[in-house]
Symmetry: C2
């Protein structure tokens, strides 16, 4: 397989992969494109490479920036804006974990706190089952929260060396 074909396949697969994780295809594809581009890209570069419209490109580039996965680059003397992505995959993964934690785990824990306050007879079977499930989710969520917090602060080597050793 040659490079062009490999890139094409990487971008397509990354997009499909994103779809399974609630990330829109174009955003994942733009990210993939930036990952494998040695130089910063303009919006027009991406529109052409991925065959997408101006509006779509613009919106998804900005979402990527919102996720902390891409950033604007100023190139002196150039009128257009350029964009790049962090290429260290470990940092990328940490960033994604950090964002999803903030956007999803934390709100979910708040909901559990609220649902834990449900009023009713705790000897009732329905009530008991409900509260146990809520408590279980909360407990797991809190563990995950703590663990991921530490994870995003960890350095890669530290992570590999320790975690893999522990998990043997």
């Amino acid at each position: 397989m040659n490079l062009e074909e490999a890139k094409r396949q990487f971008i397509a697969s990354w997009g499909a992969f994103g779809t399974n994780w609630g990330i829109n295809r174009t955003m994942a594809q733009i990210h993939a494109l930036l990952l494998i581009s040695p130089n910063p890209q303009t919006q027009d570069d991406m529109m052409e490479a991925l065959n997408i419209s101006r509006g779509n490109a613009n919106m998804n580039i900005r979402d990527l920036i919102g996720w902390g996965l891409a950033e604007r680059v100023i190139i002196p003397g150039e009128r257009k804006e350029y964009f790049t992505a962090e290429k260290d995959i470990w940092k990328v993964a940490k960033q994604i974990v950090k964002e999803r934690k903030k956007r999803e785990l934390e709100p979910m824990l708040q909901l559990m706190d609220k649902l834990e306050q449900t009023e009713g007879d705790k000897r009732d079977k329905e009530m008991k089952t409900f509260l146990e499930v809520i408590a279980g989710i909360k407990r797991l969520g809190m563990q995950a929260d703590k663990t991921l917090d530490t994870l995003v602060k960890a350095e890669e080597n530290w992570f590999i060396n320790n975690l893999i050793k522990i998990f043997r």
Copy 2:
């Protein structure tokens, strides 16, 4: 808040939450319903509780079973099939990790292996960047694969006690 309202909200939120993770709303809602139901439920129970059609219920119940998150229960003397879900959230989480790993991580690593074979001049900047990204993803993926493998074999307490201690 009373129990009925709390249940309603839990089911709705679980469904919305699932959506962010590439899981269809109905499947997540059925799962939520089973989680908080002390007794096994029939398809008709679920159709009524969630206001969904027969076909939708049937298809998603079977998907849940395919994910190992629900199972059929035979109740002697009853004609209808009943369904339950594992209520230990730690086991549920492990099961989800196990399935997603099999369905997504493993195929992704296979793709990286293939893309790593891309032919071309390794001194070319485009080529170099591409191969480095692929290698990075592969490396992270393999770590995750190993780690998650051990995770799904771990017992909850063991996990809590060790991991949280390590990650301090």
